[in-house]
Amino acid sequence: MKFLYAAYAATWIIHITYLWTIARRYTRLRDKMTELKKKA
């Protein structure tokens, strides 16, 4: 059973980590865009 739970847990750790990186990159880019618009 430990392999089964490890596989399911690993799947969600990979997906959640990826979603977190998307959210982080989106926030950074949005801030950069706001800064660029302010400059303009």
Partner: protein, 229 residues
């Protein structure tokens, strides 16, 4: 899509929860492997979802090479990244299933090796996009994606054409599977496909925003010398 996003998110959440329940509780236990076989409900749907996104990347790359359209380039990048994530899940859950069933974590047979090569091709594609700049980068990446996609049928058909450690297909290849297992399998594939589409849409929006930032920065760089005069 903005209005459809919350509906798809709710549907995905419901499908994933129901799929998890069916996979861990409702699906019958395999007589040969016991409960560990239930990894199939995450391993195979993830592989099929990865194939779908690599195929989207292939089509978008061809469209980009023909039309040089920025939106198709954004679709290609987003699809490749989501495909790599699902392929990573396949490469992690596979050894976790192989260890208790085969007694080994990994073997260099055709199915496993071609899947690893597929993953490496698309990781190379993403690295090319990430660490090179210039007008030719999307063109080179699109060309790499078109050739890289040739590995998709090789991965899929490898268990038909070669003798491998990996099991023969139980769906669509003359094999048989309990209808209740097939139901849970397809349910989880639908759930992962919906989840993949949600992630893909988020990643696509990120890429479009990146393109806007690049355009604005380029425009600023053009205007700056005039302002300083």
């Amino acid at each position: 899509m903005k209005q459809a996003f919350p509906i798809l998110a709710i549907l995905t959440g419901a499908l994933l929860s129901y799929g998890l329940y069916e996979a861990l509780v409702a699906a019958p236990t395999d007589q040969m492997q016991g409960d560990v076989y239930r990894i199939i409900y995450y391993h195979v749907p993830s592989a099929w979802t990865a194939f779908v996104f690599f195929a989207i990347n292939f089509v978008a790359s061809i469209v980009y090479l023909i039309r040089r359209n920025l939106k198709s380039d954004a679709v290609a990048v987003a699809a490749a990244e989501v495909g790599v994530v699902f392929c990573t899940v396949v490469l992690v859950t596979g050894p976790l299933w192989a260890r208790p069933v085969w007694g080994i974590w990994w073997t260099w047979d055709m199915r496993l090796t071609s899947t690893l090569v597929l993953w490496l091709i698309y990781v190379s594609y993403l690295l090319l996009r990430r660490f090179t700049s210039g007008a030719q980068t999307p063109v080179l990446a699109a060309a790499l994606a078109v050739f890289g996609a040739l590995d998709i049928p090789l991965v899929y058909f490898s268990i038909w054409f070669f003798r491998t450690q990996h099991p023969q297909p139980v769906v669509g290849g003359g094999g048989s599977i309990d209808p209740r297992m097939l139901h849970v399998w397809l349910l989880n594939w639908a759930a992962f496909l919906c989840f993949g589409l949600l992630v893909f849409w988020s990643r696509y929006r990120l890429e479009v925003l990146q393109q806007e930032v690049n355009e604005t920065e380029a425009l600023e760089a053009l205007l700056e010398p005039r302002e300083s005069r």
